[in-house]
């Protein structure tokens, strides 16, 4: 395959049109992906700022940085912003939007205007959330438990609830677009078994988005109605049941965590084969396990409620099912590791992030086994053990997957190379900072420190100080990529079509791609991950000559 020589003047999706209108009214999935990139990065730093304030407060046992009410708003909004405005969109809305059409060989997603609508809904929701934050915020915890959220909290529950409702709609439309595109717009020869696993992962994610998010939507609607009209659906003093809220809430919010992790798993499934120069081990197993996670993920929600007052027998059922859902994830980890066997491995920045993902996701996933064990759950639920568990998966897993993916596809997206040594350095900082921040929290949790505590008994201080120290390191690790990605857009070396020598249709078009993705409609006659046919790139990642 000849490497296409690109010159800066060649037309691509970035330079085809200039001006604000061409961006704000675009229907090009690649531009929309960049719009999302800017927005979610903004919200990531808002949520991260709240996290830093939380960690600063927790340096000392006494509540001395902010007031209790402020602290309660900080952790609530950290959760809401990070989950709904960063994690859930992140990989699908940025990398998915950019890559799904390219990977299946299409010119765009099935519904480009709905894609743009999806971004606008996200922005409207984001503005509402920002308004909510600056006009007083919300203090219910991101979980909105009733009757506190419906009858006791004096904060802007309605505005936050409506904001998340709209953001959910954005998520649903993205999922809808992906499913239809994957079903109906694959290029000739691109059969289901030739699809990259990134696509399988996004397909499974989209199913969850479509089926789960509406339940959150109606739950939020009922909470808003209850607050506005003083109903009693979830309020025991008016005949309602607070546990009904929890069931409805977790019915979405548990599958939501799979929305957050499956795309990252898809990213890892692209990176590891490329930097091992071999076909992924167990393609079918990994594809099917993505679907299995999506299906089983809907059956385990009440493992968040083992001490909430559910019956012993329900608890037994949900615990057993929770162990079932762990199996497909384990299968993936084993297959990725086996892919490295007898490979030819390079330690590029994306590969470092993939290693970090596998390690940290394994640790986070294994601690899920602790939480699914009923007798142990009683002691560790609602403590820092849970916080450590989900941050290992969401930050150690999903965010590292996101960063790995950003580095891997950056040349395709921007046509530029980021500085590789800085990339590796930042990856290391993120890894170290992350572990220092969150590993002590496992111990804190088992020792009994409850979550959402503004002040705490002095014996928990040492571990909290370690955790805060780690968080400052982690922050540096996150700022670095933002800086050098921006720098690279102007000063980075130009990239050619396929600097990594990777498999996949997206690498067979220019970097950055033309607006309609391919000069000629692709016709696929090879299997996925055909690394036996693709020569490895030279040691130095290829640049424009």
């Amino acid at each position: 395959m000849a490497t296409a020589v690109i010159t800066p003047e060649r037309e691509n999706y970035l330079n085809r049109e200039y001006g604000i209108k061409s961006w704000l009214l675009t229907t090009d999935h690649k531009r929309i992906a960049l719009l999302y990139l800017m927005s979610i990065t903004f919200f990531f730093f808002i949520g991260g700022f709240f996290a830093l304030l939380i960690r600063l407060e927790l340096l000392t046992p006494a509540g001395d940085l902010v007031q209790a009410d402020t602290y309660n708003k900080l952790f609530t909004m950290h959760g809401q912003v990070m989950i709904f405005f960063f994690l859930i969109p992140s990989i699908p809305a940025v990398l998915g939007n950019f890559l799904v059409p390219l990977m299946v060989g299409a010119k765009d997603l099935a519904f480009p205007r709905i894609n743009l609508l999806s971004w606008y809904l996200y922005i409207i929701a984001g503005i509402m959330m920002l308004h909510c934050i600056v006009t007083g915020g919300v203090d219910t915890g991101w979980t909105f438990y009733t009757p506190f959220s419906t009858a006791f909290s004096n904060t802007k529950v309605i505005e936050a609830g409506l904001s998340i409702f709209i953001a959910g709609f954005s998520s649903i439309l993205t999922g809808l677009n992906f499913v239809v595109t994957i079903h109906r717009m694959r290029a000739p020869g691109m059969t289901w078994s030739r699809l990259p696993l990134f696509i399988w992962a996004h397909y499974a994610t989209s199913i969850i988005q479509l089926l789960g998010t509406p339940v959150l939507a109606v739950t939020l609607v009922l909470v808003v109605f209850e607050r506005v009209f003083h109903l009693g659906i979830f309020d025991p003093t008016r005949g309602g049941d607070p546990l009904l809220f929890q069931h409805l809430f977790w019915f979405y919010s548990h599958p939501a965590v799979y929305i957050m992790i499956l795309p990252a798993m898809g990213v890892v499934a692209e990176i590891v084969p490329c930097f091992s120069r071999k076909r992924i081990f167990g393609y079918k197993a990994i594809a099917l396990s993505s679907i299995a996670i999506a299906v089983f993920g809907f059956l385990v929600w009440a493992h968040h409620m083992f001490v909430a007052g559910i019956s012993l027998y329900s608890a037994l059922v949900f615990s057993a099912l929770s162990y079932l859902v762990a199996v497909p994830s384990a299968i993936k980890v084993f297959n990725w590791t086996a892919t490295m066997y007898k490979g030819s491995i390079t330690f590029s920045t994306p590969m470092l992030y993939a290693f970090g993902f596998i390690g940290l996701f394994t640790m986070g996933g294994l601690t899920g086994l602790f939480l699914a064990a009923l007798g142990l759950n009683v002691h560790v639920t609602d403590t820092y053990f849970v916080i450590a568990h989900f941050h290992y998966i969401m930050v150690g897993g999903a965010v590292m997957g996101y960063l790995g993916g950003m580095h891997f596809w950056w040349p395709k997206i921007s046509g530029r190379l980021y500085p590789e040594w800085l990339g590796k350095f930042a990856a290391l900082i993120v890894f170290l900072g992350f572990n220092l921040t969150f590993f002590p929290q496992f111990i804190l949790g088992y020792m009994g420190m409850p979550r959402r505590y503004w002040q705490y008994p002095p014996e928990f201080q040492v571990l909290n100080v370690l955790s805060t120290a780690g968080s400052t390191i982690l922050a540096v690790g996150y700022v670095l990529p933002m800086v050098y990605f921006l720098w690279s857009m102007r000063y980075g070396k130009l990239a050619d079509d396929n600097p990594w020598g990777a498999a996949g249709l997206e690498w067979q078009t220019a970097s950055p791609p033309p607006t309609f993705n391919f000069d000629h409609e692709p016709e696929v006659t090879w299997e996925a991950y055909n690394y036996d046919q693709i020569p490895a790139p030279p040691e130095e990642v290829s640049v424009e000559r």
Binding site: Y145, F148, F306, G309, Y341, F370, H379
Partner: protein, 323 residues
């Protein structure tokens, strides 16, 4: 052992050791899995790093491996599930004859009442070696009763009772935390459980001021509110005879049979038409809004005392007061 290592709280209950044992087992399993995976990755990364003259070997997969590493973890998981389930079953099944403590949680304090009438705020005195069952409700939002040293936790809900139990095994003072976010002072809703030697506990019990045992207070309310008019101790009353009813099955008008537990008694007072006893008419007035949580606790204790065998441990009710 290991009580001085700041890795876990003191082990001060009969169940704590079981929970820790499962925890340690899981730490070992997780540790082993991590070491295994990490070593393999490091090993492969070094052994198979890119070298001149060596190509990667294209390996499709292996069904045998897929099956093995699906079935083996599943088997281990089922062991963990069973172990955790057994402990949970023990945690959620209070032993018979446990001493009862009634707990009312409110923003942002714990109100605890001993059956003998002792009232405590944010502090619970218990004797070592005695089974203690807490019957808990909330006055407002959801709270959660958490004693790390006992490894117990149970959400406390408004509108119903939930229970938890423990048997303290080591004298000492242990943290009591609220573990379900409940508003402003959630992290201030901290108390302590004081575990005493039996002799000291008896001294404490008799030394404190009591305003009558829970059951005797309940009996007073029972008379004041006129319950006694219909709920006579014979079959002539317009309401069912309550002597001996607690803990037994009750047949309802609509054909269902329910057990008369604390929640049943409470619901019958607050919303009597929900479960009407077979053979009786739904004429009992609604007491929702007319009784406080504490009064409800006392009424429940009174009805329970009508079923206690004479001289039962912990429910010291004078026989002569039973109608």
């Amino acid at each position: 052992m290991f009580d001085n290592l700041p890795l876990w709280p003191a082990r001060a209950s009969s169940g704590a050791g079981n929970v820790d044992a499962l925890y340690i087992f899981l730490v070992l399993v997780a540790g082993f899995m991590c070491v295994a995976i990490f070593s393999l990755i490091v090993l492969f990364a070094l052994r198979y790093r890119r070298q001149a003259g060596r190509e990667a070997e294209q390996i499709e997969g292996s069904n045998a491996l897929e099956i093995t590493w699906s079935v083996v973890p599943l088997g281990i998981f089922m062991v963990i599930f069973a172990w955790g389930a057994v402990i949970y079953f023990q945690e959620r099944t209070p032993p018979r004859g446990a001493t009862e403590i009634y707990v009312v949680a409110k923003q942002w304090m714990w109100k605890l009442e001993h059956v003998e009438g002792q009232r405590e705020i944010n502090e619970l005195h218990v004797p070592v070696g005695r089974d203690v069952e807490m019957i808990m409700t909330s006055q407002d939002v959801i709270h959660s009763f958490y004693v790390p040293a006992f490894r117990i936790k149970q959400d406390v809900l408004p509108g119903r009772y939930t229970t938890a139990w423990f048997r303290a095994t080591k004298p000492g003072v242990y943290h009591l935390f609220c573990a379900e976010y409940c508003g402003s002072q959630h992290s201030g809703m901290i108390g302590q459980v004081v575990v005493m030697e039996p002799a000291q506990y008896e001294a404490w019990l008799s030394g404190g001021n009591t305003s009558g045992s829970l059951a005797s207070n309940g009996q007073n309310i029972f008379q004041q509110l006129g319950c006694v008019t219909c709920h006579r101790a014979d079959t002539q009353g317009r309401g069912p005879n309550l002597v001996g009813v607690f803990g037994k099955p009750v047949m309802l008008e609509d054909g269902r049979t329910v057990v008369a537990d604390e929640n049943y008694i409470r619901e019958s007072i607050l919303s009597p038409s929900a479960k009407v006893v077979k053979g009786f008419k739904p004429i009992m007035p609604v007491f929702q809004g007319l009784v406080s949580e504490e009064q409800l606790t006392e009424l429940v204790a009174y009805v329970k005392s009508l079923s206690a065998p004479p001289g039962a441990a912990g429910t010291k009710v004078q026989e002569s007061k039973v109608q």
